[in-house]
């Protein structure tokens, strides 16, 4: 499902040189896998996630997701890829504050090349029901709890039935209880066959994952199976 080879990423270090964040990273994630990547803050986890999801195209190496080779895609092609193939879940939820929950979930549909208002709305209601928030679909983000906001963000990521859910510290802004609820939701989605890749520094997500990797010094190392490993 995900195949990354020799991915390298550098940033200017502010002193005329370059800081290497990712150094020849190789990664293979099979369809239906739940993989957690652990690492300290600033280790490059989010950078790797953005590269895998087509948000960051300034890197060296080769990345394929769902059979699509990302390098060489135009901005418009990458946008279409993000719209259809992947779903992002972020630590800060990134809901639009002036949109109701259902409209936030529908946001990817605004950028679809073939929108179908009625079908999109039905699908939005379906994914909101899937995350247990259909009853609160008319509420603004400010009227939802942190856990509910993250579940709206997950519903948004699921709208177009992505091949992979890419999660960046998805429980970082949640308390233990609501974080556990979100992780439980990830496990359910995984059981239903969705491929999940979560970058985190939290052990409880790695406990839910099938496989755990560690990003350190710009390279990935396998920490073996997680708590959900078979």
């Amino acid at each position: 499902m995900i195949s990354a080879h020799s991915v390298r990423k550098t940033y200017p270090d502010g002193q005329g040189g370059e800081a290497r964040v990712l150094d020849r990273v190789d990664l293979e994630v099979k369809a239906g896998e739940f993989v957690a990547i652990l690492g300290r803050s600033g280790s490059g986890k989010s950078t790797l996630l953005h590269i895998l999801g087509g948000l960051d195209s300034d890197y060296q190496g080769e990345v394929q997701l769902g059979g699509t080779l990302l390098s060489g895609l135009s901005d418009r092609q990458l946008a279409k890829f993000r719209n259809r193939q992947v779903g992002f879940v972020f630590q800060a939820f990134h809901l639009l504050p002036n949109l109701r929950a259902i409209d936030n979930v529908l946001l990817p549909a605004f950028f679809s090349s073939r929108p179908d208002a009625e079908a999109d709305r039905q699908r939005a209601q379906l994914v909101l029901a899937r995350v247990g928030l259909l009853a609160k679909s008319e509420r603004l983000p400010s009227q939802l709890s942190g856990g509910e906001r993250q579940r709206v963000a997950i519903a948004r990521a699921l709208l177009h039935g992505p091949k992979v859910l890419l999660c960046d510290e998805p429980t970082g802004n949640l308390d233990e209880h609501t974080g556990a609820e979100v992780i439980a939701l990830f496990r359910e989605l995984h059981r239903e066959g969705l491929t999940l890749l979560a970058v985190t520094h939290e052990e409880r997500i790695s406990a839910a994952a099938q496989r755990v990797l560690k990003l350190e010094g710009g390279t990935l190392s396998d920490l073996g199976t997680g708590g959900n490993g078979h």
Binding site: F90, N98, F110, D168
Partner: protein
């Protein structure tokens, strides 16, 4: 992104910051409104000058002999030269004109449309070909009358306007219309004057009857048939062979410049004071209104700058919103389109309201002018010309100003790195 999705996102974005949007639209509204107002005012006043004060038929060219024309040494505008003018390729018709070349005086004492009038006034008379003004003669044919019959005369409609608005009111004289003056007959003594010495010979007594009114008639005088002017000049033993001028009707307005060049080649001059006055005053009006329009254009530029600033600030605070739009499938072009479309809507609303305000303000001024301004010559029903080009142009300018202001911010918004803003 489809147009429908773009529209929905634009409306959502505007609803999010309605106050800022209205402020930006207000700037466009003021700029466009004042611009439309001044342009419409300039066009309206120019039209009054062109059509009422100095009416000029653009296909007509007034020709006169050069100022210095002594006998056979100068260029005389005689029949032979008239024939040469008529033979020019661009000329459709030639209408000859000859002044009565002796002074004339009118002494009138009697009834004047319900009032009593006593006047002595110097009279200028000019004869013109019946083909030029004949159709304006509504009472009797515009031709040299038989002995004992009054001379048919055509008065200037502009003279009537000046009389009605400036001369008559302070003297409690009645208002005259082109129809009312038909049939008015007054005496004229040719070869008689209060201010200059008459020529040798006796005065020629005649009656002139007004048979019509026309924009093309002599402004400060009476226009009579050409044959009558020739007859009076001949009777007074003054030049009755050369013409004072001629009006050429060009085959098309486009050919007028070429025709003018041909006329000048023949040693004749173009003598068109109305056109010159009209153009001069028109230019003065247009310069004045252009200055105001320029000021309004500057307001539009300020509005564009305001939009640029407001959008730049807004984009700074919307960075994560733009980032998430990119993450869920928005391309750089989509983001650019979104910002430009928001600005276009601001410009459309601001430009539309500004244009509507300018039209309504103009109407209010016209109504106030009719109600409160005293009558004056050529007072129009409207001072404004709100053509569709002006109104549509105003709205388009509003959109353009907003788009100009939004261009930079839209590029900055599209350049936002989603990976960077979403990681924060």
């Amino acid at each position: 992104m489809t147009a429908r999705s773009l529209t929905r996102l634009v409306l959502l974005g505007i609803r999010r910051d309605l106050g800022g949007t209205l402020f930006s639209a207000f700037g466009v509204c003021i700029g466009v409104g004042s611009l439309v107002f001044f342009v419409a005012f300039g066009l309206g006043v120019a039209r009054i000058i062109r059509e009422k004060i100095f009416p000029v038929d653009r296909a007509m060219v007034e020709v006169a002999p050069p100022a210095i024309s002594v006998g056979s040494f100068g260029t005389r505008l005689d029949q032979e030269r008239i024939n040469r003018l008529a033979a020019l390729e661009d000329v459709a018709a030639v209408y000859r004109k000859m002044n009565v070349r002796l002074p004339a005086l009118s002494r009138y004492e009697g009834a004047f449309f319900g009032a009593q009038l006593r006047m002595r006034v110097e009279v200028l008379a000019m004869g013109v070909d019946a083909a030029l003004l004949g159709k304006e003669a509504r009472l009797s044919p515009f031709a040299d009358p038989p002995p004992g019959q009054p001379i048919p005369g055509i008065v200037s409609t502009r003279l009537l306007e000046i009389y009605n608005k400036s001369f008559a009111p302070p003297r409690n004289l009645p208002q005259l219309t082109p129809t009312l003056v038909l049939g008015f007959t007054f005496p004229v003594e040719f070869n008689s004057s209060m201010i200059s010495a008459p020529l040798a010979g006796e005065p020629i007594h005649a009656q002139v009857q007004v048979v019509g009114a026309s924009d093309h008639a002599m402004l400060a005088g009476i226009t009579i048939p050409l044959e009558t002017a020739i007859r009076i000049n001949r009777a007074a033993h003054v030049d009755a062979d050369t013409f004072t001028g001629a009006t050429l009707l060009a085959r098309s307005v486009d050919r007028v410049p070429h025709l003018v060049a041909e006329v000048k080649k023949m040693g004749l001059k173009i003598d068109d004071p109305d056109r010159q006055y009209g153009e001069t005053v028109g230019v003065a009006v247009m310069l004045t209104t252009s200055a105001f329009a320029l000021l309004s254009g500057l307001i539009c530029l300020l509005a564009a700058a305001n939009i640029a600033h407001a959008l730049s600030t807004s984009i700074g605070s919307r960075a994560s919103e733009i980032g998430i739009m990119r993450a869920v499938g928005g391309s750089r072009a989509d983001i650019r389109s979104l910002i430009l479309a928001e600005a276009a809507l601001i410009g459309l609303v601001g430009g539309g309201v500004g244009t509507l305000g300018a039209v309504l303000f103009g109407r209010a001024l016209d109504a106030a002018s009719q109600a409160y301004l005293p009558p004056f010559p050529f007072k129009p029903e409207t001072f404004f010309q709100y053509s569709w080009e002006v109104t549509v142009g105003g709205i388009a300018l509003g959109v353009l100003a907003a788009l100009v202001g939004a261009y930079g911010p839209s590029r900055r918004a599209a350049a936002i790195d989603p990976a960077q803003v979403l990681a924060q």
